[in-house]
């Protein structure tokens, strides 16, 4: 416990951590300020007009769907009405749509919390992922490089305990900071929605969906923090983690993808970490695979997409992070500390 307390003090005293927290607060403040400046509370006329437009849009969707069904059943002559009518009418069935037009869609310059909360949360998660990776890497990388770890081992000559205390402290600190930042961030935008915009429909479904995204985001933040820590431990330097991340992005995500496209490899996206990160964060990611519909005669509907779901994607991320972390501990246990 003493070791963890000391590590918390060391971590919080790091200039880089302080800089990243300031950057987080700055990004947060700029986003909130621009949102606040660009939003206003709609008056009754604006609301009525928006509701009418939304209602009209929903009606139009219903009409298109009915038209499609009628044409499919042959009760309507095949004349051009100017509407898009697909072969499979379920595509435009309003009930099957993920989201129907609502008044908020027709209120320009009005911030609606229910609509914007998810993209705002994605932005926060992206920042925290970057924060976790960089802080995780620099925390151990700088300490290994400067002799801080050696100093600590002279006091506590238990390598695995010291490294585990560092990793545990890092993950705990990143989680606490992420939770606090998330609460402050969402609360601020909720207040903006209440006072200078619209709260939108904040029912149980909304909050549970937002909580799920947030929970998955926090897991991702912890995994990337551990990943940065593990790679920097193995490479002895912060730059090892940064270099590994940059090399992976350029060599595999860009170069590898390009090569796989050239050789017509099937489903290259499922070999990319970015695909699994997306699938984990959103619950499901869909990717195009032309061979899915290759054997389709054209009678049945075939959309040529396949899905990566959050379960297998989480497994990929866990195996990668767990493997690298275990390797980092194994290397650190035997390494000569010069």
């Amino acid at each position: 416990m003493n070791l963890v307390r000391a590590e918390i003090e060391r971590l919080s005293a790091r200039r880089f951590v302080q800089l990243m927290v300031v950057l987080l607060a700055l990004a947060f403040a700029i986003t909130a300020a621009t949102t606040l400046a660009g939003s206003h509370k709609p008056n009754a006329d604006e609301l009525n007009s928006a509701r009418a437009q939304a209602s009209q849009a929903r009606q139009s969707m219903e009409v298109s769907y009915q038209e499609c069904l009628a044409r499919q059943s042959g009760s309507l002559p095949p004349q051009d009405t100017g509407r898009y009518l697909p072969a499979d009418c379920s595509e435009i069935d309003p009930i099957r749509q993920e989201k129907l037009p609502i008044a908020a869609d027709y209120l320009p310059g009005v911030f609606t919390f229910a609509q914007q909360a998810r993209p705002l949360l994605y932005f926060l998660i992206a920042f925290l992922v970057l924060f976790g990776f960089l802080v995780g890497a620099s925390y151990i990388g700088a300490d290994l490089n400067s002799g801080g770890v050696v100093n600590l081992l002279l006091w506590r000559p238990r390598r695995l305990t010291v490294l585990a205390a560092k990793l545990g402290t890092l993950l705990g600190a990143v989680l606490v900071l992420s939770l606090l930042a998330s609460v402050a961030y969402l609360a601020t935008f909720w207040v903006i929605g209440q006072t200078a915009g619209l709260p939108g429909r904040l029912d149980g479904d909304f909050w549970s969906s937002l909580a799920a995204v947030h929970g998955r985001g926090m897991v991702l933040v912890l995994l990337t923090s551990a990943l940065g820590f593990a790679i920097a431990t193995m490479g002895r330097h912060t730059s090892a983690a940064l270099g590994a991340a940059a090399a992976y992005a350029v060599v595999w995500e860009l170069g590898g993808r390009l090569v796989m496209e050239i050789i017509d490899a099937r489903r290259p996206d499922q070999l990319m970490l970015s695909s699994h990160i997306g699938a984990w964060l959103t619950g499901e990611a869909r990717f195009w695979d032309p061979q899915i519909c290759a054997g389709n005669a054209g009678n049945d509907y075939c959309d040529s997409f396949y899905s990566l779901t959050w379960g297998p994607s989480l497994l990929v991320l866990l195996v990668l992070t767990g493997g690298l972390t275990a390797a980092a501990f194994a290397v650190f246990r035997r390494r000569d500390l010069l």
Partner: protein
């Protein structure tokens, strides 16, 4: 006396793609007993720091046996780590921490009472500068802080690697006094240093390492005695005639400037008697005792080839192989 540090046959080889294989320590032995202030000497790259790092579990030894305060190291080092204060080379501290905060952090990590921080700062003379940031410290002050960190635990054994680095003459003297006062309270001190005069002044025992091997060990006076050629500087009115008279008396004597160097003299009264009987009166008869520096340079071969730029790893120097003289702790000089 009980052994506080025991090293037998320590071996360590570093391998790297760029530099290949390099033997850093090759069958090294070290014995430090309770209450000693033990000097650990060796040229740059001779294996001193590698030995200390291996002893403290920072470097994995390839072979040999080590123990600290009776516990095998590094396996059971955690058992006694609370009683061992150590600095290895110059430790780095957070520049934006104050000295006080730096020590408080270490005290917390090691489970040492925070009150001990002020005592340690006082001991190394940083009491009034403890609230300043470390980045504003001079090299000497950082070194004092490092020593303070080693003293925090109130150790039974203190291992100091080059503690005088960066210290001014007054600081070196304070460090010497500190080590003496610690030793007086029963703390065993192992100190490595390049400042041989300092080692000779403060240490009662010494071990000299060269090319990863022990080339001398024992009480400082015994090690020096092993290299005493019983030489005397003699000043007389007629040096040339004096040489002839001494050589006739079967003594080895040569003219050295305006004086004589007479060696192999067990009893200096012989010199004054031989010369006095022939009417040559001795104006000066000074015994030339070896100091640690001359013994160190002779043992490590760091002086004889002074016309050749000396290399850190000892290349270009006579190899301190098994054929060279080795002074042993209790056995005097072994061929």
């Amino acid at each position: 006396m009980s052994a506080v540090i025991e090293i037998e046959g320590l071996r360590k080889t570093f391998h790297s793609v760029r530099n290949g294989r390099r033997v850093a320590v090759d069958g090294f032995d070290l014995l430090v007993e309770a209450g000693q202030i033990h000097g650990f000497l060796g040229p740059n790259g001779s294996g001193k720091t590698t030995t200390l790092r291996a002893l403290l579990g920072l470097v994995r030894a390839d072979g040999g046996r080590m123990s600290v305060l009776g516990e095998p190291s590094p396996e059971l080092l955690p058992r006694v780590a609370g009683q061992v204060g150590a600095i290895v080379e110059s430790p780095q501290f957070f520049g934006n921490f104050t000295g006080h905060r730096t020590l408080r952090l270490l005290a917390r990590a090691g489970g040492v009472p925070i009150a001990r921080v002020d005592e340690a700062l006082e001991l190394v003379g940083l009491r009034d500068r403890g609230d300043e940031r470390v980045k504003g410290y001079s090299l000497g002050m950082k070194q004092r802080l490092a020593v303070a960190s080693a003293l925090l635990k109130d150790p039974r054994l203190l291992i100091l690697d080059e503690p005088a680095n960066g210290l001014d003459p007054a600081g070196i003297r304070e460090m010497r006094d500190l080590m003496r006062s610690l030793a007086a309270t029963g703390v065993t001190v192992l100190v490595s240093s390049h400042i041989l005069g300092e080692i000779q002044l403060i240490c009662d025992h010494v071990t000299i390492i060269s090319r990863g091997r022990r080339v001398a060990a024992g009480r400082v006076d015994e090690v020096l005695a092993g290299y005493d050629r019983h030489e005397f500087l003699v000043r007389v009115a007629e040096p040339g005639r004096a040489v002839e008279l001494l050589q006739a008396a079967e003594l080895t004597a040569v003219v050295d400037g305006e004086a004589l160097m007479v060696s192999g003299v067990s009893d200096p009264t012989v010199v004054s008697r031989v010369l006095g009987e022939q009417g040559l009166w001795v104006g000066e008869l000074t015994p030339l005792r070896p100091d640690l520096e001359s013994v160190f340079l002779e043992l490590t071969g760091a002086y004889e080839h002074s016309s050749v730029p000396r290399q850190v790893d000892g290349s270009g120097l006579p190899h301190a192989d098994q054929g060279e003289a080795v002074i042993n702790l209790d056995r005097g000089v072994d061929a």
